[in-house]
């Protein structure tokens, strides 16, 4: 797994010993793979690609293979974690907004009654 297109041999090594990072095109390819995989997860109502790894692999076999082929292992893990994190973040923001709106409504009705 990992740098499938580049991991063969030392092609990802720079001549001075550094490790060449994916360039713009390979990044774009990785992101495409990620988006395809995540939309597949959305279709199947799977949020966490790590926790529900087996089910995700079963339902989105093609996508997960392409995704993992296009991105390094750490990136795959990072994107999967980020998906969950962003989902929870959005949920929290939504909840807080709703609470705020409810509170405002409550205060307004109280205000109307008192005045």
């Amino acid at each position: 797994m990992g740098w499938l297109p580049w991991s063969s041999g030392d092609s990802n090594k720079a001549s001075d010993g550094g490790r060449i990072a994916p360039d713009r095109t390979s990044r774009a390819r990785c992101w495409e793979g990620r988006d395809a995989f995540f939309s597949c997860l959305d279709r199947n109502d799977i949020l966490d690609g790590i926790k529900d790894d087996k089910e995700a692999r079963r339902k989105c076999a093609k996508e997960v293979q392409e995704f993992e082929a296009a991105c390094s292992q750490t990136w795959v893990k990072y994107f999967k974690e980020k998906r969950v994190m962003e989902y929870n973040r959005d949920k929290t923001i939504e909840r807080i907004k709703k609470e705020d709106a409810d509170k405002m409504k409550e205060l307004k009705t109280q205000g109307w009654k008192s005045s």
Partner: protein, 308 residues
């Protein structure tokens, strides 16, 4: 004879009388005149004297009531005493007094305004280190040609410092694309390529060697100065800039790992003092607007910029 004798006698008497009277009279007249002029004079001055003191009293009372007018005093200066007094005041005429008061008032106003300005400046200077987070400081790194690059090399220009690593999955590339746009916008507005110095400092020196960095940054903007160094040097610069640094110390270049790091751009002024943070929420437009405002402020103050 007797008649003539009488006559001469009479005459002589008369003349003698006359001659007697004459000098006496003239003496009398003179003396009386002298007396009268003296007495008149005395009477005059005596009669005037109370008026004179009265005038001064009036004047003093008038002055105490804030109705002091030098011209009135001058107009009334008919008596010797007053004329004398006026002359004794020398150059202190009402013109001089007015000039003195106006100059004094002008000086007071000027010093007050100037004092307020200096106070503002002092506070602005003070807040450079106190009010704002102390970001940045001395560091030693290497540029992509292997030359030493220190904090001193950032001075004289507005520098735009970003920390990242080439294996960054998604945020850094986005931010570096934004950086490239900002560089172009600032360059366009200032018409000066050397005034704005974008810097990329890697948090991952094990993998990001000069060659790797050069190839990576070339994709975004050729003007970005890439900096790297030893693990300790990078750790130090991250500390100076308050950047969270989580790179594993014994990371092998071949390993696959991610580095957590801050995702802010730090705008530093030509004194290398921190001025502004540009974050994810900023668009290239808003960011370059902020940067140009700072650059123009600096120019307007006539402060030095290195443009070689």
């Amino acid at each position: 004879m007797p008649s003539s004798k009488l006559a001469t006698g009479l005459f002589s008497r008369a003349t003698r009388h006359l001659s007697d009277i004459g000098p006496i009279r003239s003496q009398n007249i003179l003396s009386s005149l002298r007396i009268t002029t003296q007495s008149q004079c005395r009477a005059y001055t005596q009669s005037q004297r109370p008026r004179c003191t009265q005038n001064i009293q009036n004047m003093l009372s008038a002055r105490s009531c804030n109705q002091f007018s030098t011209s009135a005093f001058r107009a009334k200066g008919r008596t010797m005493g007053q004329i004398k007094q006026r002359n004794s005041t020398g150059p202190f005429s009402w013109k001089a007094a007015l000039l003195f008061i106006l100059t004094g008032a002008g000086m007071v106003i000027y010093f007050r305004v100037e004092k307020a300005r200096l106070e503002r400046k002092r506070i602005a200077e003070m807040s450079k280190g106190v009010g704002k987070p102390k970001v940045g400081g001395p560091f030693v790194l290497k540029d992509l040609d292997g030359k030493e690059f220190t904090a001193e090399d950032l001075k004289g220009k507005y520098s735009f410092v970003y920390f990242g690593f080439t294996h960054c999955p998604d945020i850094c590339p986005d931010e570096l694309d934004k950086m490239a746009e900002i560089i172009e916008k600032v360059k366009e507005s200032t018409k000066d390529e050397k005034l704005f110095l974008p810097v990329f400092i890697t948090c991952d020196p094990a993998r990001d060697t000069p060659e790797v960095l050069r190839a990576y940054l070339q994709e975004f903007h050729p003007g970005i100065v890439g900096l790297t160094g030893t693990y300790e040097q990078v750790k130090n610069v991250c500390k100076q800039y308050r950047v969270y640094f989580s790179t594993p110390r014994d990371a092998k270049p071949g390993e696959d790992y991610l580095v957590d790091h801050s995702i802010y751009f730090y705008l530093m002024d030509p004194d290398n003092d921190f001025v502004e943070c540009i974050g994810r929420q900023d668009t290239p437009e808003s960011a370059s607007k902020v940067i140009l405002e700072h650059i123009n402020d600096w120019k307007r103050e006539g402060r030095p910029l290195k443009t070689e």
